[in-house]
């Protein structure tokens, strides 16, 4: 039996004060999960942390968080490494500048518990993306078995971002791909979603849960956009497979 049900993994590089609302929201959400009986591991991954960020995350107020240092220069490699060192049977990633709704961890954990009981291979996402700061936008995502789920959307946009709670097994089986901006490839979260679906995992959303994504001008997603990156060329997106993409899952 795993020591923890859930590892909450926050990745940081140069974030300092902007991580304050993130950490407060995550703590509030962890509190709800713990109240519901879930055991939660708190893990912060510092990747090539700037001196300011390093000092910020080592402050006493955060002493309940385990710190792990990396020097990848790639947030997705950090996530892969955090899966390796995480002790929870599920893992939930949060960027250090984003926020989560208070009900996210508890509802997602409940959904994964149901999936476990039913023997389903499920990855869970918040229902709503609430984009704020540099851009303002709100959108909701469909479940893969939703009647409006359309595989072709994955050619041009990512239904689900990296903000997921997944069984550790899924993350070990399908690690995030390498960032390769030099060759025009980015969006490893998008790639991961396609690859996990291809591997038989069903992505679902949990009603009334939200990720608050702080859009900053120099964020990774902005870098991907400005560089006009592509997600890698993936077999499940082939012309003779796309119509069935995700249909055989779950």
């Amino acid at each position: 039996m795993a020591e923890y049900d859930l590892t909450v993994a926050i990745t940081a590089h140069n974030e300092t004060l902007v991580a304050g609302p993130c950490l407060l929201s995550v703590e509030a959400a962890i509190e709800q999960a713990e109240k519901a009986g879930f055991r939660v591991q708190r893990l912060i991954g510092l990747d090539n942390a700037t001196p300011d960020a390093d000092a910020y995350f080592r402050q006493d107020k955060l002493k309940q968080w385990e710190l792990v240092e990396f020097s990848f220069g790639d947030p997705f490699k950090v996530r892969n490494a955090m899966v390796e060192c995480g002790a929870g049977k599920w893992i939930a990633f949060v960027d250090a500048d984003d926020m989560v709704s208070e009900n996210w961890f508890v509802k997602a954990a409940q959904r994964l518990t149901e999936a476990e009981k039913a023997g389903e291979k499920v990855v869970v996402h918040p229902e709503m993306n609430w984009i704020f700061e540099a851009h303002e936008m709100v959108f909701v995502k469909p479940d893969m078995n939703d009647e409006i789920f359309l595989p072709h959307y994955f050619y041009f946009a990512n239904y689900y971002d990296m903000m997921a709670m997944a069984p550790r097994e899924a993350a070990l089986q399908t690690p995030y791909g390498d960032r390769d901006l030099k060759n025009g490839f980015g969006y490893q979260d998008w790639q991961w979603n396609i690859e996990t679906i291809g591997a038989g995992w069903r992505h679902v959303v949990v009603r009334d849960t939200i990720i608050f994504k702080r859009r900053r001008m120099n964020s990774v997603s902005e870098q991907n956009r400005s560089r006009r990156c592509l997600v890698r060329d993936l077999e499940p997106m082939a012309i003779d497979r796309i119509r069935e993409f995700g249909q055989r899952v779950g």
């Binding site: 609302p21 709704s101 303002e136 936008m137 909701v140 469909p142 009647e147 959307y153 060759n183 997106m237």
Partner: protein, 674 residues
């Protein structure tokens, strides 16, 4: 907002903060002082200050309403003082009937019917009354007040503002109606100078007019509906229903509660509230993505949902030497891979004038039609995703502009999925005499990611090698493929005409600057005893129209096939061009063994061989052309013998089998790419 107003309201007994928060949960979620909310927004949204407040029972209130007071209720309290309290008790004792909700979106009603603070809007609007009453059935006052701050600051009923001004100022009455779009799409509405939303409610909706760019009636939206197995209206209903559901949960449910809690941690969260009134519902979130999905699906359908080994990208299929060569290339590829493995993608327009140029059984994709209206970036991305979905081994570009543009951002990534090859043809001169064309603009930028660079002439290959100091590792990628000819064409017998019949010289080409029709006319004018037959039509510019056609020139129009020409009557072929590659037509003339007189430009010297034809080095040296033509006319036997030798040279160099072999060598070449 002045403190005085807040104090007046709170002290009047007319405002019940607890009831107000309970009745309008968004107030609590927004974290505002309830009385301030009422004064700033609630009044404008027709909300009641307390459960028992009945505006119908407030004598004289209507007068304040019509006077345009900042807040008629506050003005009323100011004037009546304690009377406000008395009125409240009187209202309560009389049962305080809840008035009909107004100012909510009837089509997408607000989550909970809101008791109104006022009668259902103004009642003395005269001729406007009927329009007002119709408008408020679907007008989204919450959205209007949130979106337009000047309305929030004003004292005016939002619906009345929209009726009188907002609609004409192209403001939106709610998230589901884009006034500017509606007016732009419907010139009759603009001309009629009516409120566009009212027009939609009265007749536009029944006529099937679209309220927003992304709604049923948009062909791409409708296509996506079909992809999902719905009719457009079924999908429309589902999307609208989800938006209503989200809004309701934001206003009254757990979703809204989560926003309120997050806002306490970072107030920036609440700045997004307006966007939340019109949430995106994936996958129907943007016009661009919707068209891209529809277009990609359409092209994949055309491709039969099957992979392919190779794609040939062309701009169009009309009179064009480059596209003719693309046909030869496609034929060779069909021989190598089988026709079904070859995909022809037509990127710039849908015209197909010569389908016979391409192999039977190859799949033809009309990208130009599918992508019509897409802007540059979305268009390029569409092409890239389509090509990637085919899981191609090779793609050959033959003058597709969209493909070149796509390489700018996606070329490196694309080169990791498939081998990229591109043809280059001669540069051209613009009207200023400057060299333009893909070799000038694209070669140096993309040669690194191209597996092969194909030129149709040694002249161009040498020019590129010289200009860019191409190193050996690149030199191997730079190939010259001699365009194949139809070797079955027999040599034409020498012209046999009676002594009294005038000699004939043929000329063919586009009537444009490149082909120097002016020089050809000058030659004809210098040989009045000879008839000149011209085939072709004007294409790029209109300079030709100003030229005076000599009397001995006969314009024959466009020919479909070279072999349709009456070559047996031809004494000599005249070719004029200021710049060129190795034009197909010259190859065909040489293969037919028709005596050739032509200008040396770019690659034409690879056909206009000295001693076997009459090359002219100075494009404007009319006397030199005339000398060559006179020789051909006066010495038919000798000149025809030279032409037959030239035919042999050309047949060998431009043999179909040699071309196929060269294409196969490109395909088979091992490269470190990929």
């Amino acid at each position: 907002m002045i403190r005085h107003e807040l104090d007046l309201l709170k002290g009047s007994g007319l405002f019940d903060a607890a009831w107000y928060c309970q009745e309008y949960p968004d107030v609590r979620l927004l974290g505002m002082d309830p009385a301030e909310h009422f004064l700033r927004f609630g009044w404008l949204l027709n909300r009641k200050p307390s459960k028992d407040f009945d505006p119908d029972r407030v004598p004289g209130l209507e007068a304040f309403l019509q006077q345009g007071q900042r807040n008629p209720l506050v003005a009323y309290i100011e004037q009546h003082g304690e009377g406000g309290v008395l009125l409240k008790s009187r209202g309560a004792s009389n049962g305080a009937a809840v008035t009909k909700p107004a100012g909510v979106n009837g089509k997408h009603p607000a989550p909970k019917p809101a008791p109104s603070a006022r009668p259902s809007g103004p009642r003395n609007l005269g001729a406007e009354q009927a329009d007002y009453d119709l408008l408020v059935t679907e007008f989204d006052a919450e959205y209007y007040v949130r979106r337009y701050q000047d309305i929030a600051r004003s004292s005016m009923d939002p619906a009345l503002h929209f009726l009188r001004h907002g609609g004409f100022e192209l403001r939106n009455p709610g998230a589901d109606f884009d006034t500017k779009y509606y007016v732009n799409q419907n010139p009759d509405v603009k001309d009629a100078k009516v409120n566009p939303f009212l027009h939609y409610l009265k007749s536009g909706r029944a006529e099937g007019r679209q309220p927003t760019p992304l709604s049923p009636g948009n062909p791409h939206y409708d296509q996506v509906a079909g992809m999902l197995g719905f009719t457009p209206s079924e999908l429309g209903d589902r999307i609208s229903g989800r938006k209503r559901d989200i809004r309701e949960r934001l206003m009254t449910g757990e979703l809204g509660e989560m926003i309120a809690k997050a806002e306490k941690l970072d107030p920036l969260v609440k700045h997004v509230w307006l966007a939340a009134l019109d949430p995106g519902i994936s996958p129907i979130r943007s016009a661009g993505w919707t068209q891209q999905m529809a277009a990609l699906h359409q092209m994949q359908e055309q491709a039969g949902w099957r992979r392919a080994k190779v794609a040939v990208l062309i701009p169009w299929v009309h009179v064009s030497g480059a596209v003719r060569i693309a046909g030869h290339l496609a034929m060779a590829l069909a021989e190598i891979f089988g026709p079904d493995e070859v995909i022809i993608v037509q990127t710039e327009n849908s015209e197909v004038q010569f389908p016979e140029w391409f192999p039977d059984g190859a799949r033809h994709i009309d990208f130009a039609a599918a992508a019509q209206g897409l802007d540059g970036a979305n268009r390029e991305r569409l092409l890239v995703e389509f090509l990637r979905s085919l899981k191609l081994d090779h793609v050959f570009n033959v003058n597709s502009r969209t493909f070149w543009n796509a390489l700018e951002h996606f070329g490196v990534a694309l080169s990791k999925s498939m081998k990229l090859h591109s043809y280059f043809f001669c540069n051209e001169k613009n009207i200023y005499g400057d060299w333009v064309g893909y070799p000038v603009r694209m070669y140096h930028k993309f040669a690194d990611i191209l597996d092969s660079v194909i030129c149709d002439s040694h002249f161009l290959a040498n020019e590129l090698q010289g200009r860019f100091l191409v190193p050996p590792m690149h030199g191997d990628r730079l190939r010259v493929l001699s365009t194949p000819i139809d070797v079955s064409m027999e040599p034409v017998a020498p012209a046999r005409r009676p002594a009294n019949q005038r000699p004939k010289v043929f000329w063919a080409g586009r009537f444009d600057r490149q082909k120097r029709v002016d020089v050809a006319y000058a030659i004809a004018a210098a040989m009045p005893d000879v008839d000149f037959h011209f085939w072709g039509k004007q294409t790029l510019d209109k300079g030709f129209e100003k030229l005076k056609k000599p009397d001995n020139v006969k314009l024959e129009g466009v020919y479909q096939k070279f072999t349709d020409l009456p070559l047996a009557e031809c004494d000599a072929w005249l070719y004029t061009a200021e710049w060129d590659g190795v034009p197909n037509m010259l190859i065909e003339v040489a293969t037919a063994a028709v005596p050739l007189v032509g200008s040396i430009a770019g690659g034409t010297g690879e056909v206009l061989v000295e001693g076997l034809s009459w090359p002219v080095n100075d494009i404007e040296d009319v006397d030199d052309y005339v000398a060559g033509l006179r020789r051909a006319i006066e010495n038919p036997v000798e000149v025809r013998a030279d032409a037959l030798k030239l035919r042999q040279v050309v047949q060998k160099r431009h043999a179909k089998t040699a071309y196929e072999g060269a294409v196969r060598a490109l395909i088979d070449r091992e490269t470190p790419n990929g």
